[in-house]
């Protein structure tokens, strides 16, 4: 029990519930870890030391009064800084929201508190979740704990780095085009993008509403399932949340793999894929084959249109969602203003960073008069074709297995000068957001430089439970090392 920071979330919850561990000790151990590791890794924008200790003491006192504790008893959770926690600064890693204190809790924040989790801090991200490397944070760059010279991925780089460096056993993140799965892949974690609508987004600062989904990051499938069980379910406050959303996920391996059909979409193994990534992904697939799974070559013919479709739809929705940042009610306001128009233009021009402005303009252009049909409307139709590809392929197979990203974690600065190169790092994760199905990344090996490689597994919508079970099966075989 000495090494608290290496315990799984499930174990912590069990020990705190039974009284073998105090929530306060658990939180204290993680705060100490943050003090030694975070100056190097820089995962957190805000560390909630006092709040977390107070919450932990309250949990301990609840238990000593004989009350039954929740599913996440005493488990520290790091929360991406685009999710509201009442009274706590929520910045989206943007200058425009610096100092903004959330006036209420997101639904998932309330759920965490109800399950006796302890929110330990708010994690760094690419500004407004727009990016794939964390280099777009307006404040600082989070580093990959596996190699501090490489990016942690993005946009949920802080949430990934916090869990990989054992500063928290669990984190919450959001995924619009791969923002959970790609950093999970780069940091050797399990990262789940649940089915669209499975988790309430009330209190998530919106980026692209038809694509955004909240999900867990963890060091094991069981822990990811535990967190997902705590946050999933329909929420009347989110009109896009699904009435059929489940909230019970065991994260236990499949009892029987025999006869299971796994599709290998050939478009995901095309040119440009890092050979070590290819090999590692195939090793995991071959293992499932030895267990009796049937592996099938399949095709998703519209895959090559996914990135273009995404880079029309996501910026268009972002342009609308981010119109609310106008310098009037919250956030940054420019000084020495002479007109209303100038108030908007200068506050936004000075408050938003380069990538956010780029996407707002791209979206504004795609939606503007004369271009709407050529861009936005056409992209929505392409989206239908991409979603149909998945529908068709899931008539033939139960799951798809692919690489999560075309490469391992890249170096700082390697892609930041070229937006198009950066956009392509989400090439394998974007299609699942467009189609709304369930997908996750699970570590499947290390490359020769000791950097993690991620396997992406994709299931039809609302098959999250089976997807986690398949991931747990792979996890047993891979025996992925923990980072020291």
């Amino acid at each position: 029990m000495k090494n608290i920071i290496s315990l799984s979330a499930s174990k912590i919850a069990e020990e705190v519930s039974s009284g073998n561990l105090k929530a306060e000790e658990v939180v204290q151990a993680h705060l100490e870890r943050i003090k030694t590791e975070d100056p190097k890794v820089r995962a957190f924008i805000t560390v909630l030391e006092e709040n977390a200790l107070a919450a932990a003491r309250e949990i301990d006192s609840k238990r000593s009064h004989g009350k039954k504790l929740g599913k996440l008893a005493g488990v520290p959770v790091a929360v991406k800084d685009n999710i509201l926690v009442e009274g706590v600064e929520t910045t989206c890693a943007s200058k425009i929201l610096k100092g903004f204190k959330a006036p209420y809790d997101a639904t998932i924040t309330q759920k965490l508190k109800k399950e006796d989790a302890v929110i330990i801090g708010k994690t760094n991200l690419d500004e407004f979740a727009m990016g794939s490397s964390n280099e777009n944070s307006a404040f600082f760059k989070t580093k990959n704990p596996w190699n501090l010279e490489t990016v942690p991925g993005g946009s949920s780089g802080g949430s990934a780095a916090a869990v990989a460096a054992r500063m928290a056993p669990l984190s919450l993140a959001s995924d619009t085009g791969g923002s959970i799965r790609q950093p999970a892949s780069f940091c050797g974690l399990v990262g789940v993008k649940p089915t669209y609508g499975a988790v309430s987004r009330y209190g998530l600062i919106a980026f692209a509403s038809s694509l955004d989904q909240i999900g867990p990051m963890a060091r094991s499938v069981e822990d990811a399932a535990l967190l997902l069980s705590s946050i999933a379910g329909h929420d009347p406050k989110d009109s896009t949340s699904a009435p059929q959303a489940q909230n019970r996920f065991s994260g236990k391996p499949l009892e029987n793999v025999r006869g299971l059909k796994i599709g290998i979409p050939r478009e995901y193994f095309a040119e440009g894929l890092d050979p070590e990534v290819r090999k590692s992904v195939w090793n995991a697939v071959d293992y499932l084959k030895t267990l009796g799974a049937e592996v099938k070559d399949v095709t998703l013919p519209h895959t090559s249109y996914a990135v273009a479709t995404y880079y029309i739809i996501a910026p268009s929705e972002a342009a609308s969602n981010l119109a609310r940042f106008d310098g009037v009610r919250y956030g940054y306001r420019a000084q020495n203003i002479k007109s209303l128009s100038e108030l908007y233009e200068k506050s936004r021009g000075e408050g938003f960073g380069p990538e956010v402005k780029r996407r707002i303009m791209l979206g504004t252009y795609a939606l503007s008069s004369g271009y709407y049909d050529a861009y936005y409307n056409r992209a929505q139709k392409a989206r239908t074709l991409i979603a149909r590809d998945f529908e068709n392929v899931f008539k033939e197979v139960d799951f798809l297995a692919t690489p999560t990203a075309p490469s391992v974690a890249f170096k700082f600065g390697e892609k930041s000068a070229d937006p198009v190169a950066m956009y392509l790092s989400d090439i394998f994760t974007i299609p699942s957001n467009l189609a709304g199905n369930a997908s996750l990344s699970i570590p499947c090996g290390l490359n020769k430089d000791h950097l993690p490689i991620g396997l992406q597994l994709i299931a039809p919508a609302f098959e999250d439970e089976k997807l986690l079970a398949l991931a747990a099966t792979v996890e047993k075989a891979v025996n992925f090392p923990q980072l020291n």
Partner: protein
């Protein structure tokens, strides 16, 4: 789809104005060249045959999500006002815009 390379700095200025973003001359020239590249990279969509394909806006196929129109008291007004860059009592303060 129009040929993307025809995007000029003047176009970028117009888009920025529609998006209510003030940009420096440097930013305008940088965005102009990046836009050409980005729009070229998404131009492949124009080659896709989308005839008779309906657009997808919701993958869940949800239509209107109705609920009872009930007023729920919100008691954290002060927390909202406290976030304002400028305030006056219970009001958001903005620069004078009408002479």
């Amino acid at each position: 789809m129009e040929k993307a390379s025809s995007i000029t700095e003047e176009d970028v200025r117009k888009i920025a104005s529609l998006a209510k973003l003030s940009l420096s001359p440097d930013e305008i020239s940088r965005y102009q060249s990046q836009f050409v590249k980005i729009l070229d990279s998404i131009a492949e969509l124009s080659r896709l045959n989308v005839e008779n394909v309906p657009p997808t806006s919701s993958v869940l196929g949800l239509k209107n999500a109705f609920r009872e129109d009930q007023a729920i008291p919100f008691e954290k007004n002060q927390a909202l006002i406290d976030n304002a860059p400028e305030k006056d009592g219970p009001f958001f303060k903005v620069p004078k815009i009408i002479e």
